[in-house]
Amino acid sequence: MKKIILVASPGGHFVQLSLLSDKLVGWKRVIIGTYSSKPSFMEGEKYYAISDFSRTDIWKSLYVGYKSFKILKTERPSVVVTTGAAPGLIFSLIAKLYGVRTIWIDSVANSNKLSLSGNLAKIFGITVLSQWENVCEHNDIEYHGRLI
């Protein structure tokens, strides 16, 4: 069975990710979020909680990075997908360094330009997708559909 790691910040990011998870029946879905336990609307076989952080408490990224590495080492997924934001970026960077196929799906909220984190992900060589064709065109990235 193919294993996928799905990781996102709470709120809209996580909701969008849950729509994807619903469609991945037949995969082993390892979910990573910042909720203390997995919300019921998110389908998945396993759950890990990590700390949320943003630009104002960026030091937490070190801890998230360490935890991401440990999870990747344990789970050895074939794909990692994130819908952002900051913790998703750290996790996807570590996954990329670890040699796992890593996909960043920029939030549907970003209808005119790529998010800052999405841009950083792109710079680091992560496969970045936008859910808006116009944003894909402007950023020279491929369009592969959308979650909503």
């Binding site: 193919k2 996928i4 709470p10 709120g11 809209g12 990011h13 996580f14 909701v15 969008q16 849950s18 729509l19 994807l20 619903d22 469609k23 991945l24 919300p39 019921s40 609307f41 794909v79 997908v81 996909i103 799906i105 939030s107 549907v108 909220a109 209808s111 997708l129 592969h144 559909g145 959308r146 979650l147 909503i148």
Partner: protein, 153 residues
């Protein structure tokens, strides 16, 4: 029938009050799950908390859902192809611990079938236009399948 839900955890007097005020004029059939909101609503059929099965029935039978910007309700509306009007809780008004619902509404702005109201006027206008609101496209669109296929390569 329009159905208002404010979630199960915290009161949301401002939203209940706004919908009640709109309906004092429009006199529509609006049912509401108001949790522990304190405000009295004379123009809504209110209940504190519905059992899950009844909640499902209401969500199925209503024309439009009006809701706080809670993820659970938004997902439910999208899955059932019900137009939903969402109003974010504001931390400064004591409606939630933080402003993550503001982020949630920003994420859903422009998504088909999901409508954002951040003021009384916006809410009223959407309720007046209720019959012309689009249904969410649901979760079986070809575009999500395309994304799943790309991930599964």
């Amino acid at each position: 029938m329009l159905f208002l839900t404010i979630g199960t955890q915290l009161p949301f007097d401002r939203l209940v009050g706004m919908v009640d005020k709109v309906n004092s004029e429009l006199q529509l059939e609006i049912e509401a799950q108001v949790g522990n909101s304190k405000i009295s609503a004379n123009n809504l059929k209110t209940v504190s908390l519905l059992p899950p099965d009844e909640m499902d029935n209401k969500l199925d039978s209503c024309e439009v859902i009006i809701s706080h910007a809670g993820m659970g309700t938004i997902i439910t509306a999208i899955k059932r192809s019900k137009p939903i009007i969402i109003v974010p809780r504001v931390a400064a008004l004591g409606e939630h611990r933080n402003d993550h619902q503001k982020d949630t509404v920003d994420s859903f702005r422009g998504v088909s079938g999901v409508y954002v109201a951040e003021s009384y006027e916006e809410l009223k206008e959407l309720i007046i236009k209720r019959r012309t609101l689009e249904k969410p496209k649901g979760l079986n669109s070809p575009s999500i399948q395309r994304l799943v296929d790309f991930i599964a390569i």
